[in-house]
Chain length 402, copies 4
């Protein structure tokens, strides 16, 4: 599709592409190998360079120091950033911070904005989002065991969360908790900002995932909230609006993942083609002469192109009508693009043979950690079912979720 992109975006794409190629890709494997807190020092330098070049925080409004891109425009940038593991981080548009920024811009009080959002936008602190619980199927923001009880002008949180991405080293968490157990399903929960220094915010462990517990930004924590008290003013949005806010946060969150996956796919595709063109099977035969490899290349090319078109279409719809109107498109790309990602990574890995299993390349990192793409923010099965339910409604059939 010819998208007739405006000149400023074309120029930005070029700049970001060069920045990524010069500043991030060359050291990406070394950075991945380091403990994150060590890598963070190098990354801080890269952020400074990005700022100096006017590339920082492309997703933020210009009034907040960003580049003021629409979601549609950001998709083109996000894809480029995703071709290397630290691309988004360097430009401070990484999950979960990007989602927290969007949420806080809209719903946080001025005090909270000044104290927490401003340094977050500047890349001076990090944050996390604490929703998923081990005892409840994660795809449902209604069923939840964590409670938040109002006591005077304080709110007291108790509960058990996990997969709180990047909690280790974060300055604060936005916690989802039940504030009104008797209310109707969609008005039970609220979101509350909890500084990580609050007594009772107990980071139990960084969960070891696919062989790595990680640390800092590269980690996923299990957290016990134990009589964790914060001022009532730390509520994000109104009391009882947690579900609504979660939906608002998750819609764009899902498309952000999809944008990222397309960038990963392109990088893996490039590696696969390069390998196919150069790996010798014999004097005059390269891997790319094998028809099976050709099949993988052709299928991957088309599936990635299809993914991009659908993600851009969904982004444009969100820009114009909001995430709620685009919920079918979001469900669709969430499982479709995740599936393409799995297949492209798998083919690229297989094309590299034993080398593909090693950490001498990026593929094994993505193969491991991006397996979660089919799970987090709603597993494939939930999104397929949601999309089908919405379609079947148009045919007169009501299907209850899950």
């Amino acid at each position: 599709m010819t998208y007739n992109l405006p000149d400023h975006l074309l120029a930005l794409k070029q700049q970001i592409g060069e920045f990524v190629a010069q500043e991030i890709i060359p050291g990406e494997l070394e950075l991945l190998e380091m403990p994150f807190n060590e890598a963070a020092k190098v990354l801080a330098q890269k952020r400074a360079i990005a700022k100096s070049k006017g590339l920082f925080a492309p997703h933020l409004p210009k009034t907040h120091g960003g580049l003021g891109l629409s979601l549609f425009e950001f998709a083109f940038i996000s894809e480029i950033l995703a071709t290397t593991p630290f691309g988004h981080y360097v430009l401070n548009c990484q999950a979960p911070d990007i989602g927290n920024m969007e949420l806080m811009m809209r719903y946080a009080s001025e005090d909270i904005k000044n104290t927490f959002l401003k340094p977050l936008m500047a890349g001076e602190i990090r944050s996390c989002f604490s929703m998923t619980e081990p005892s409840f199927a994660g795809s449902n923001p209604i069923r939840m065991g964590t409670t938040a009880i109002i006591e005077g002008d304080e709110i007291v949180i108790n509960g058990h969360k996990w997969f709180t991405t990047a909690a280790d080293g974060a300055s604060f968490a936005i916690v989802m908790a039940i504030t009104a157990p008797e209310a109707s399903a969609y008005q039970r929960a609220s979101m509350i900002l909890v500084p990580a220094t609050t007594p009772g915010f107990n980071l139990k462990r960084n969960i070891s995932i696919m062989g790595e517990a990680g640390e800092g930004y590269h980690s996923h924590a299990e957290i016990i909230y134990e009589n964790c008290k914060v001022p009532l003013a730390n509520l994000i949005g109104e009391l009882g609006s947690g579900f609504k806010l979660a939906q608002e946060r998750l819609g764009p969150g899902r498309i952000h993942h999809c944008m990222r996956w397309i960038g990963i796919c392109e990088r893996a595709f490039d590696m696969m083609c390069h390998r196919a063109a150069t790996r010798a099977l014999s004097e005059d035969k390269r891997l790319g002469h094998q028809q099976t490899i050709q099949n993988w290349i052709a299928e991957s090319r088309v599936e990635i192109d299809a993914s991009r078109m659908m993600v851009l279409a969904a982004a444009e719809k969100i820009d114009r009508f909001g995430a709620k109107e685009a919920k079918n498109e979001i469900s669709g790309i969430k499982f479709y693009v995740a599936g393409v990602l799995m297949r492209v990574l798998d083919r690229a890995l297989q094309t590299h043979g034993a080398l593909g299993m090693t950490d001498d390349l990026l593929l094994s990192f993505w193969y491991r950690h991006e397996r979660g793409a089919r799970i987090y923010d709603g597993p494939d099965e939930v999104h397929k079912s949601a999309l089908a339910r919405s379609i079947l409604k148009g045919y007169g059939l009501e299907v209850k979720p899950g």
Copy 2:
């Protein structure tokens, strides 16, 4: 994607949709059951109605009595027409005639245009395209056994063709034959118009395909050309330009198929959803409550959407830069959309259970005859390989075709 279609196209879509719903769909199963030559009488009436409503020949320039649509615009119309088996026929934009019209508009002599193209465009006669041969792998317009030898101002054709779609009852064939066996591969063949009344044009049989030999427009002939003489003036284009013309014809031909497949997919999808919403498994359970059916609906929805976006993108590219520039996109959609078509038809059929096997619905017709989608105009394997070769060239690897 929001395509910002011009008003005239939106209006036309609506008109064509209504026309198809009112005039064609209601009798479609009966028409399919009739021998074609009987159905043709009913279809002639429908064509008259289409003409009277100004809907006839949407693909032709206005100067030739058509609606003057670009390929991109035509895609939206073609999809609607394809939701019923005779849609394209009624508007006289059916293959293989549409391809012959395009070819003859560009390359036929004025005489030929007056004698053959004019009545073809008016829907007064039909035509066919005679390329494929039983002894040669069909995807290659270079290897071919049919010869055409110039004798004075005549040309004498000998050869054995098959899968000449709609030859039965056609007024003429455009025949691909070797005119210069010693020339370089791409300059050996020429295209020649052969009236069906020419002695030596021997229609041996309508090949029985998937249980039906059919007749008239709904048939695929085996033809023996035996000392079949036509005037040298019947050449379409220059001597030796057969391969080039075939490429020009096949590119758009392939995207025409893809457009059609999307329409079939939408109809099958609609049937599947309707069945899911209404078929009772028990008092209070419908087929659509089953998660497997939901998976099929969701996957189909996304795959059809992806197909449409890619077909429209390819159509736009052809409109702007020509079919040659879009050859990768054409190869990509040819196998991708064919695959989607197979899966969507298969799921729709399975959703209908035993009923899906019967001819009480359209599904079994498409299930049988559209299996060819993965074969005709180049099998999947050839298009995948072509796309991969083109990509690998960019990585410095030359791969010889097939």
Copy 3:
């Protein structure tokens, strides 16, 4: 697996193989093209030859004129017969007659046996089995609209059946009908033998399936039972035992299908390999040099072998412990082997290109009609669910069917 087959079985395999190769395969395509009632005359001669060679009715006990094979032994023979469309018919072990014979041997009265079973076993008459109804999801012998009301010593049947295979020309039907609507689910129905000449046995039409209504043995009828009276003595088994008998009939029925599918797979595989080895792509390149074709051959070989091993294992279990004990194995092979059949036929067809679409080969016949394999006698989805329910029971979870 080395099965250490007894000598008599090895000899029989060889004899049947030769008989099929000499007597049936050479004319198979012609027979398929003929209307069945014409083909029946040729087939009657073949049956006579089979009888004279002592090959008739391999599935029947020796005391009933058969060869006395166990189910395990029959599997080897059935596979050979299935390599050609009329193999089973010629040896009188075709569905649905084979199932009716098994059922009647066990449960019919002596009178019924003398009048109906004897000539059926001798191949003098044909029969059918009337269970499926258009208004009810077909996989469930509990929900059903056909009623059979006892009036004195008669029983009066009213109902609407379809997909009654081979009803056209059959001498009798075994009809499944509700005799006790108030009874518990599994005791509502009974089986009743209805001679086709009975008033009220109205064969409405042979349903057109995949383009062919067929006739005689090659047809599937829609039947209206309208005050159709037969003697009470025509009950097969006891009143209310219909569900139990259906289960007994369906278990072996399903494995009979699987045995057949393996034979079809082997024939299609042979055609695919032959084509791959002989079809020229260029002077010195055959289709079989293409890696994609090699993939198909290798995958098909392994999947067919896996299918055979599992079918034999299930047959042995049925022989030893009865069909009920082997219900998980039967569910497993029903969907697995049906899936293998689809894939092998699809690959074989694609390997033949356009020729695969024609009726010049057997493939298109199987492609069309064996699509039903994933539907009849319980669709894939039902068998997968049944198997999973049975497994999950062992983990303490009860799941209700459907």
Copy 4:
């Protein structure tokens, strides 16, 4: 299939099952987390227990302190051992040592046997096998850069190997090297035993694979052989017999993998079913009530059963006729069972949601490291092609490898 196993094997299966359940499974996750050299101490105790119970080295002849099982018999034991990561190690039948033992029993000199094989069989030392090279596509034991030149009664090895599994801490390597570069392809290479203490045996690194470099038995080394001299007497088999020996080693090696994969599949299947039966989606709904999960359970069950039957059939054939005769069966199970393993692990992981990504379960370990199953000892593509070539030969077509 009823395999009519002899009583001694049934008893052994039971004993091994209990041993694994009591001694290995309870601590398996802790052992996996430890550095291997620490785990080795615990494992040594387990080995002592296994010896005391007469379960050690089931694959070895009784004369060598083993249980004297045939390959067919060993398959049943190997499957049980494979349900936990250290099962084979504890019984000293782990790759690559098991392959080296088999090879050395047949081809090593008495001296070598006394010095190296004896302690290897007793579990006192470990070994490795050094074949794969980074510069050559690994599936081909003909193309290779490592050379071994005879100098007097010594042999001098130079070359670059990688993926030498378990080299770290091994007492010796069996190295494949070119000894006769001018000889015909299959007589160029030889196998040579190189003690790890030999100067010039330079273990460059343990390659980081899927996030873990590991150590000791759990590692895969890159090794530079630099003027590495060993006595000529260290040749295993004759000079130039390397290729032949590699084939002998790889055939059984591949089936050993397949046996192992079946055990992994069974464990993952058990975890999936357990999760499905217990994970709550709501008050009265468990994950196992979802039809998608049921599909996965049913499909996995059948595919695992098919895998086992084919592996047992191949094992029996090897026992009776040797690995060479069973090469088609071995190629078939190599890619088929590897594919089943991928699918079963993927479904089990997805069934566990986010938990499946963590190292709180075994699934993520297998998901990462068993991805290699489709690569090592010949990637899928090579085995499919090999099987197809062998089949096509029977149809008269010669296809050259790769």
